[in-house]
Symmetry: D2
Subunit: 119 residues, 4 copies
């Protein structure tokens, strides 16, 4: 079956089929998926924990490949949990960007970047 692998929707579909084919939906409660998601996020953190910020900006190709795999894993669980909860992920993120745009107007916070941590 040919499949367009480009979109988030197709990824959602693939993951739903993957779980159904293996009878794994029983394990995929939102509670459990939130745990799997944070465990993958932590594997990402692990790659960066002893690096300086500068070093984290200049990863080797090998490291980049490994980090890419962790990012893929996080997206997998993020899409899966959203699907199980019936939440539109892209819409949710765009709504947050809308909110943040109001909360932190560029005209106010720009050039005041040193206070970023206090917003």
């Amino acid at each position: 079956m040919p499949m367009n692998k480009d979109s988030l929707n197709n990824l959602k579909q693939r993951l739903a089929e993957f779980a159904a084919d293996r009878d794994w939906d029983q394990f995929h409660s939102p509670k459990n998926l939130s745990m799997a998601l944070i465990a993958e996020a932590a594997e990402l953190v692990e790659h960066f924990q002893w690096l300086t910020q500068e070093e984290s900006r200049g990863l080797s190709d090998e490291k980049l490949k490994e980090v890419g795999e962790e990012l893929g894993d996080v997206l997998i669980y993020l899409v899966r949990i959203s699907d199980r909860l019936g939440i539109d992920l892209i819409e949710a993120a765009n709504r947050k960007v809308d909110l943040n745009s109001e909360k932190y107007p560029a005209s106010v916070v720009k050039g005041d970047a040193k206070k970023y941590t206090e917003y």
Copy 2:
């Protein structure tokens, strides 16, 4: 400026502009973004920590809205860190699904779901 808000690419674009407009790229090292990502993932976990799995499957509309916001936040940082690292997120996730399909063939693991935790 009209903007199609549907795709992951547009979200990436919006977030890049959002950060540039505020001079915040300086804070957005991959190291820092991995920390922000896991902090958002933890807010998701917090919603589920005292619930049973069953309860996590039947959230109220109000809870669903809150959880949706956390999911949006996780996606925001996930897209942002991928962008900063030049990683194609959808491609990375699909590559992981390909790998997992080989690693856990449905014909082998199906019906053996109780051993899921040992795969």
Copy 3:
């Protein structure tokens, strides 16, 4: 050198010497240690992510040993970061228990356990 291994203070001492002997204090900024701490916490979460609560209460001896190692790792980074920040960990925890005792008086919340998640 004989050493009483029983107390948190001795652990703090051992970890300080361990890092000094290896010239590792340079990596042990509070920022980095907070990342290492959460990465270890996530390894703990991973052990439980596909288990039911009931199963998590009845771990096999082998699992218990593995989980014990993760708990040890979390304590190591927790003690280390507290030491680097000059914070008395036991005092900090007891202060939080004091606060929580006022916040959640037994006479009020007892028997109302189902609402635990809303406190």
Copy 4:
């Protein structure tokens, strides 16, 4: 009742009584406690996510107080989960230090600190 608040054992005792008085043991499965632990660890991470390592070493008194509260919270859940699993936390941590001492002999890794991330 007078209580020596200095030791980890006393903290364990206090927390057990706190939960019993409120009928909260039912929520304190190891699975749930691992989630609460990582959620607290993430609040710690949040304090440091936009700081440089240097800044994280020089927190203001006010920040230090807040960070101390998060550290206390992490210890509370760490002690609680260890108690529920019957694991001696100090012993577990000391065993890990023993293992790490063998794994990373000072004579080998010292002065080679730049490779720390690869150990």
